[in-house]
């Protein structure tokens, strides 16, 4: 055995061992679309905030149960929960923390005022204050958390009431109520995303729904989206993967009419997929579902080398296998390197998802190539018979229209002009939201629940920085006073900020002074009619409430997501999309930064779309240089068909009315890497009897099938690859022989 074969066999054994481990439970599959997106380029606190938001929601499903009345809703919720399969979803029991929050805050209460209270108190005349106090004290029933002589205006009750209004959710008898609806929080049990393609969570919720016919049940939450994506991807992986494998088998069955070539080519493909998967897991620690969908498309590319080998064998049955291979290797390795280069270009954009695809595919192609070179001469024992199908196909090479030089020039100009016109008609779209492929019903449910229970926007928020907590809080207050004004104009529905519960120390002292003045005025006025018991209690000053104290209390849990290690986050409720600029303009406040992930991602997509398009010219120049080194002045014949096919593929995209995205541009890189292969094969074996043509045909047909199948994907990025490559590969296949004169 030659050293290469030996080494590859050892490596293959290691890969297979790894695969056994992976498929017996070691494989971690990431399903969240968001994780395909790049990490922020600058802001660490924004990343931390996003991460926390993601963590807190990754396993929780919320359900709104609405019947004809609050009592009916509670009764329905009870039956709904009882009907849920406990091994999938369990209810998070709600314990009201209200009492302990009040106990925590009471000692600091005189420093706690809302902005509207401050405004009202500082504007009120003494007489107003006395009247307000009288009215507060003589209300027939009221909840009071502080003695009347300390807080005659009941400012603390009012503070709590106003704070509670930041959420419409109210704990009642162990239920969370939103109006007459019950809000159930459910936790996903066990591994939710088994790769069996079965929507377990959706079915579990369906079981619950069946127990409460006629009751409105709306479910939302990240796990439901993840599951929808996982089941969808599962279908797509199977369609694309098995579909293209089946196509290869059929084509090869016709071409070789023998089991051995078939098995060996499938072996090379499976080795490629296995090596790609292993590399991904080793480097990234996991593999993303989208990588698997995309990787399934690799099946249609990785078989090229094996097919090429067998086509040559078939044409030269008498020739020694090693000599034959030596003859094939320059073309094969050149083709492999250009394809790997094309895939590798996907990885230079800072999108983790694309990097996985780049690694998966590059390694996969390399492994398939090595399998052919290292194993095929050893394993391929017998003869490869000529078949009618293969002979007819190879013979068609001679009849295929082949253009003279002037013809080529005319064809290039005409097709180029058509392509240029098509490209000029393209619209572009860099909106990250267009990547979302979730079922509409799920999106609607999510929106409804978010509106009803007031979920913060996961994409837009403020980060507030400062030297220390005191400065951060003070800066946050400067921000929230502006947000109050914008809320009044309808720019946003509300916000969540730590300073709402913990005013800055400076503010607390001011509040306390204001409250003390108010108390003095009121008690003095009432003293004429009342003898106040225990006046000293009223005078005792309270301490300053600190964030640390709050974080260790029951209030800590809801506020946790607002406090980063060295920054505060202010979350926004339903910011109006058309008025984000007004929010962004608040970034001029000291220490305040508006984060708009949607806009960031979209601008990132646009930058990379433009950048990768421009770089494509450099890519073509580089490939031309490599081809020149191998083929000299004929090099252009291998490249021009790919260039024309690319332009026409974009025209097709324009014709279909789809906007140009980064993913179309990246598909053009793949087309460059793969399309050039056909030119290379045909130029390398210019004087053969058409076996290279047969190999190109088989390869192109299977590539076409597998990438064409990607076009059915509901994930628009994968669909973009599918359309571009489907059209592009067909055209390269048709054009290459026309340009590479026999």
């Amino acid at each position: 055995m030659k050293p290469l074969s030996l080494w590859w066999t050892l490596l293959a054994a290691a890969i297979l061992g790894h695969q056994v481990y992976l498929w017996t439970g070691g494989l971690k599959v990431e399903t969240q679309l968001l994780s395909l997106l790049p990490r922020g380029e600058t802001d660490a606190a924004a990343e931390e905030a996003l991460h926390q938001l993601g963590e807190s929601t990754s396993r929780s499903v919320v359900v709104l149960v609405t019947a004809t009345s609050a009592e009916a809703s509670q009764e329905a919720a009870q039956r709904f929960v009882a009907a849920l399969p406990a091994e999938r979803l369990t209810r998070v029991t709600e314990t009201s923390q209200a009492q302990s929050v009040v106990e925590l805050l009471v000692p600091y209460a005189s420093g706690l005022l809302t902005a509207s209270q401050r405004k009202r108190l500082s504007e009120a005349s003494d007489e107003d204050l006395v009247q307000q106090a009288w009215s507060a004290l003589t209300q027939p029933v009221g909840q009071r958390f502080r003695p009347a002589q300390e807080d005659p205006l009941q400012l603390f009750s009012e503070f709590l009431r106003e704070r509670a209004q930041s959420t419409p959710v109210r704990p009642v008898n162990g239920w969370l109520m939103v109006g007459d609806s019950v809000l159930l929080r459910l936790e996903v049990k066990g591994s939710a995303f088994a790769l069996d393609g079965v929507p377990h969570l959706a079915r579990a919720l369906e079981e619950g729904r069946r127990a409460v016919p006629g009751v409105d049940v709306v479910a939302a939450g990240v796990p439901l989206f993840a599951e929808a994506a996982a089941t969808q991807a599962n279908t797509e992986v199977n369609t694309v993967g098995w579909g293209s494998l089946a196509a290869i088998l059929v084509l090869m069955g016709f071409a070789f009419r023998s089991l051995r070539p078939l098995l060996l080519v499938v072996t090379s493909v499976l080795m490629g997929v296995a090596a790609g998967l292993s590399a991904c897991v080793v480097v990234f620690g996991e593999v993303h579902l989208m990588t698997l969908v995309f990787g399934a498309g690799l099946v249609g590319v990785a078989e090229d080398y094996g097919i090429h080998y067998f086509c040559s064998r078939q044409a030269h049955p008498k020739q020694d296998k090693q000599i034959l291979l030596r003859h094939l290797i320059p073309g094969l390795s050149l083709a492999m390197l250009t394809s790997v280069a094309g895939y590798a270009m996907l990885g230079i954009a800072p999108f983790p998802g694309l990097r996985q695809v780049a690694l998966f595919s590059s390694v996969g192609l390399g492994a398939a190539f090595l399998t052919v070179v290292a194993w095929f001469p050893i394993l391929d024992g017998g003869e490869v018979r000529m078949t009618k199908f293969a002979a007819a196909w190879a013979a068609s090479r001679a009849r295929w229209p082949s253009l003279s030089l002037p013809g080529v020039v005319v064809a290039t100009v005409v097709l180029g002009a058509v392509g240029a016109f098509g490209i000029s008609q393209l619209k572009t779209d860099d909106d990250i939201r267009s990547l979302q492929a979730s079922p509409k019903a799920l999106m609607d449910a999510q929106r409804l629940v978010a509106e009803r229970i007031g979920l913060p926007s996961p994409a837009q928020f403020f980060v507030v920085r400062g030297r220390d907590e005191a400065e951060r809080l003070a800066r946050e207050e400067a921000l929230t006073s502006q947000l109050d004004a914008l809320r009044a104009q309808g720019v946003l529905q509300g916000y969540e900020a730590i300073s709402a519960w913990v005013p800055s120390p400076e503010q607390q002292i001011q509040n306390e002074r204001l409250a003390a003045r108010v108390r003095k005025v009121v008690l003095k006025a009432l003293a004429d009619e009342l003898e106040v018991v225990d006046d000293d209690a009223a005078a005792s000053p309270s301490r300053v409430l600190s964030i640390d104290e709050v974080m260790q209390s029951a209030l800590g849990a809801p506020l946790k997501q607002l406090k980063m290690s060295d920054a505060h986050v202010v979350l926004l409720h339903a910011p109006a999309r058309q008025r984000l600029e007004e929010l962004a303009s608040l970034s001029t406040l000291p220490g305040v930064k508006f984060v708009d992930r949607t806009a960031d991602w979209s601008s990132l997509m646009r930058r990379w779309r433009v950048g990768m398009s421009q770089l494509l010219v450099v890519g073509y120049a580089l490939i031309l240089a490599i081809l020149w080194w191998r083929f000299g002045a004929r090099a252009w014949r291998a490249l021009v068909p790919t260039a024309l096919a690319s332009a026409l593929a974009l025209s097709a995209v324009a014709f279909l009315g789809e906007p140009l995205t980064l993913f179309h541009v990246l598909a053009l890189w793949l087309l460059l890497g793969m399309g050039v292969d056909y030119g290379i094969f045909l130029l390398e074996h210019q004087n053969d009897d058409g076996e290279a043509w047969l190999a190109v045909g088989l390869g192109a047909a299977s590539t076409l099938l597998s990438f064409g199948l990607l076009a059915v994907s509901t994930t628009s990025a994968i669909h973009a690859f599918g359309v571009t490559l489907g059209v592009g590969v067909t055209l390269v296949w048709m054009l290459s022989p026309t340009f590479a004169r026999n």
Binding site: Q132, S135, T138, Q139, P140, V141, Q143, L530
Partner: protein
């Protein structure tokens, strides 16, 4: 088992019976108006806070509690909201559909002032008596939630509710005397 059921049914029978008899004693007018005198003893103050004014109770609609002395203010209790006004300035407004706790309390207050004994009995345990001169009722909260607000309520009346005594969990007590009139 049988005995248990009998005792249970006996207990159940008394309360609705009382409610029924009080209901039949009450003069059934869709709108009741009059003047009130309220004396509220607030914990921490030695003397009670006294106020007076007019009231309108509309069956199924709500109460308008119009304080005239010592400071004019208006409290409106409706099934959907509770609001307090001073002149034209709204001091506060709470949406009952969003605040179930507030809704329950206002419903009970409304029931007490309008003599809606059936509603009260859904949330309170009642003992009471009824005679030719009139009736009286002592109500204790039946749920934990209401216990946090009310210690007990006392109602007295004849063809209308005449006196309401509210003992709150805060330690405050309120006495309201209602004088039906034009």
């Amino acid at each position: 088992m049988m005995l248990c059921a009998v005792v249970l049914s006996l207990n159940l029978a008394t309360a609705p019976d009382l409610a029924l008899r009080i209901r039949s004693a009450l003069h059934d007018a869709p709108v009741q108006r009059g003047t009130f005198e309220q004396s509220k003893q607030v914990k921490g103050f030695r003397k009670p806070l006294k106020s007076s004014g007019t009231y309108v109770v509309t069956r199924g609609q709500g109460i308008v509690w119009n304080t005239l002395k010592p400071f004019p203010s208006e409290l409106t209790v409706e099934p959907t909201a509770i609001a307090s006004k001073q002149g034209t300035k709204e001091l506060f407004r709470v949406d009952a559909s969003k605040e179930p706790a507030v809704r329950l309390i206002t419903e009970m207050l409304f029931a007490a002032l309008s003599g809606d004994v059936e509603s009260l009995l859904r949330h309170f345990e009642a003992t009471g008596q009824i005679g030719p001169e009139g009736w009286s009722l002592v109500l204790k909260p039946a749920s934990k939630g209401l216990e946090k607000v009310f210690l007990h309520l006392e109602l007295q009346g004849d063809s209308a509710v005449r006196k309401v005594h509210i003992a709150e969990a805060t330690g405050d007590t309120t006495d309201i005397v209602l004088v039906p009139g034009p």
